[in-house]
Symmetry: C2
Subunit: 389 residues, 2 copies
């Protein structure tokens, strides 16, 4: 199905990216440099990638028919998100289309599947169960020392949506009823540090592992990332080892992001995402080859590039605030901070929405993070907006 990248007639496979968000846009930025033939399938013209990228198809909904038509013009499909239904993915593969990651790897997007399979393979995870009855919940609560517990519906969550800290059986069953099926219930781990490791896997099984980053979440949404993570060397080695083990279990071609808790010196896998990930945005400036370029290299069957860290780095997300308005109208505040690398996604402003990020490299994570936060504070200050209104 995939045309040779070296047959002297074509210039490489046609790569279809399903979804037009910021991950697709940053893939397109990498694709432009390498002149890879990337096409985007988006569900709105004002999404992040379609606003800049020529080779975009916009459809009403990313349904089976739209995907089949898009796939017919591509040699390989990859994904901006995990929102496509498993049966649609399997039908594409049955029709002979190449998915990277595969439908089987994307099945790990289901949190119940993910937890169950990783635990079965002996990967350290928080204590959990998949429950839908009073008896199940009571048994699990009794086995873990009680409330509060964490509840996650298997599908559809992102940026803290879909993660609930609950105090009672009734709370759990409310979520079961609202989502229409079993949910993952798990112990509330007392976390020392949250880290993430990105592993990129080529179609031949070759892997490249990025250095562990430390992430800081507020209300479940990622706010800051620094690299290297502030953890002991032994924990760092363990995190890389666990992430590589998870990658081999999931079998995802391309980027796999593995989010982990560090608790009492132990590493527990929290969530995995088979796509470029917010925790890896700082690789654009801080690593030899970014997660976006390596994802595309893997998907295209090209050699993977080095993941080496060139310098300590920090990234802060630009999240829409109620006061400050569109950050694109205020980007000069960030650019005035020497060393602040601004990335805006071209998305319309809405409070709570990830609209961009700021990365600062070197000389150490503390000062890089301080500079990045300073730039963000200037962006979010409403002083100028008041002056110009």
């Amino acid at each position: 199905m995939i045309r040779s990248v070296d047959n002297g007639k074509t210039t490489g496979p046609v790569i279809g990216v399903v979804g037009g968000g910021q991950l697709a846009r940053m893939m397109c930025e990498a694709a432009s440099e390498l002149a890879l033939d990337v096409r985007v399938l988006a569900s709105a013209a004002d999404e992040s990638a379609p606003s800049t990228w020529r080779a975009t198809t916009v459809v009403e909904t990313l349904d089976a028919a739209a995907l089949a038509e898009f796939a017919a013009g591509c040699d390989v499909l990859t994904f901006d998100h995990e929102l496509i239904a498993p049966d649609v993915l399997e039908a594409l593969e049955s029709a002979g289309h190449v998915l990277r990651p595969s439908a089987a790897a994307l099945a790990f997007s289901d949190k119940a599947v993910q937890r169950t399979r990783l635990a079965a393979a002996g990967v350290p995870v928080p204590r959990f169960d998949v429950v839908d009855s009073v008896a199940d919940v009571e048994r699990f609560a009794a086995s873990t020392g009680g409330w509060p517990l964490v509840v996650k519906p298997p599908r559809g969550g992102y940026d803290g949506r879909g993660v609930y800290i609950v105090q009672s059986v009734d709370d759990v069953l409310d979520i079961v009823r609202a989502t229409g099926g079993p949910v993952v219930v798990e112990e509330l781990v007392r976390i020392d540090t949250e880290v993430a490791v990105i592993v990129v896997t080529g179609p031949d099984g070759t892997t490249v592992t990025y250095p562990a980053v430390e992430t800081r979440q507020v209300d479940g949404i990622c706010h800051d990332v620094v690299c290297p993570a502030g953890i002991d060397a032994t924990v760092s080695v363990e995190a890389a080892r666990v992430a590589e083990r998870v990658a081999s279990i999931v079998g995802a071609v391309g980027v796999l992001a593995v989010e982990m808790f560090v608790a009492d010196g132990r590493v527990l896998v929290n969530e995995v995402a088979p796509r470029p990930h917010n925790s890896g945005h700082l690789t654009i400036e801080a690593c030899t080859v970014s997660q976006f370029e390596n994802h595309l290299r893997a998907v295209a069957g090209l050699p993977l590039g080095p993941s080496s860290l060139l310098s300590s780095a920090a990234m802060v997300n630009i999240i829409g605030t109620a006061d400050a308005g569109d950050p694109a109208a205020r980007r000069h505040h960030v650019l005035a901070v020497p060393g602040a690398h601004l990335h805006l996604y071209g998305k319309s402003w809405r409070p709570g929405r990830k609209l961009g990020h700021i990365t600062v490299v070197g000389p150490d994570t503390g000062s890089a993070l301080a500079t990045a936060r300073d730039a963000l504070n200037r962006l979010d200050s409403d002083r100028d907006a008041t002056m110009s209104s």
Copy 2:
């Protein structure tokens, strides 16, 4: 004319880039990250920028009417090349459009104007004259110690086209007749090193100067660039001083590239170009902020970013060869070299055409250049092409 970047209604000026070549494409890559509203005016859909960038208008020819219509939808115009006739540029300014660089700065693209004005301002240049008669040529040859001499028609040359080393008065007059007007004639300088310095100027006159690079030309076309240049610190300081002086004379908002000869410890200005320049491509990986981003920042009236060199670096151009065919079909050879950053421009293959470049950073210019050349040699080897045919 330029809408405020901070009025709370728009998200910055609409920037029109005239010309759709690789410089426009690399501007678009920077514009995507910053979510700047860049539109491209190109003369073919298969040019470098239009093949990736959505906001592109393709016209038959970049004539006065096409530019006027394009300018009407933009707040500020900038340029991928210097091929627009001066009277067209002046007419755009007279109609109230903002050009960055201005028509006056772009007038320096004429080599006779450039040489004459820089010399008049006391900038060190090779001995030259602007001639169109036997008497003029004989007088100049006698004053400089004779033949060979260098002849340059004032307009239209690039990549070594438009630079002639000639042996006689007849040769000079042949070029005068062929180009239909006076030509620049100059001494053939015995060059120790060729260097280039990029100066970026904001609309408020603020400047940022990049570290001097050393360039190596073959048949007048740039093959290799390394940074820092292999010149004494005093020469380096002098090159920066001269480039900043030239920038103040030319008055170009945005990038000005100043190519210089180093001869007997002296710096002589060879040519200037008021646009992002091949000698600055390595700034994408090697400097805090690239020449492309800083050019757009200047054009948009945004704060300029640091030009600091993060690491020694080398760049080699990918020039179409008769044997190897399209480099896009062979990009895996480059990507297999750790640390080789590949940039392909999406242009159709033609022998002698600049199709892309490869940049390698650190640890020193010698090893970076060796790695970059190794990657280029793998790309240009016809071994695989033979095997797959």
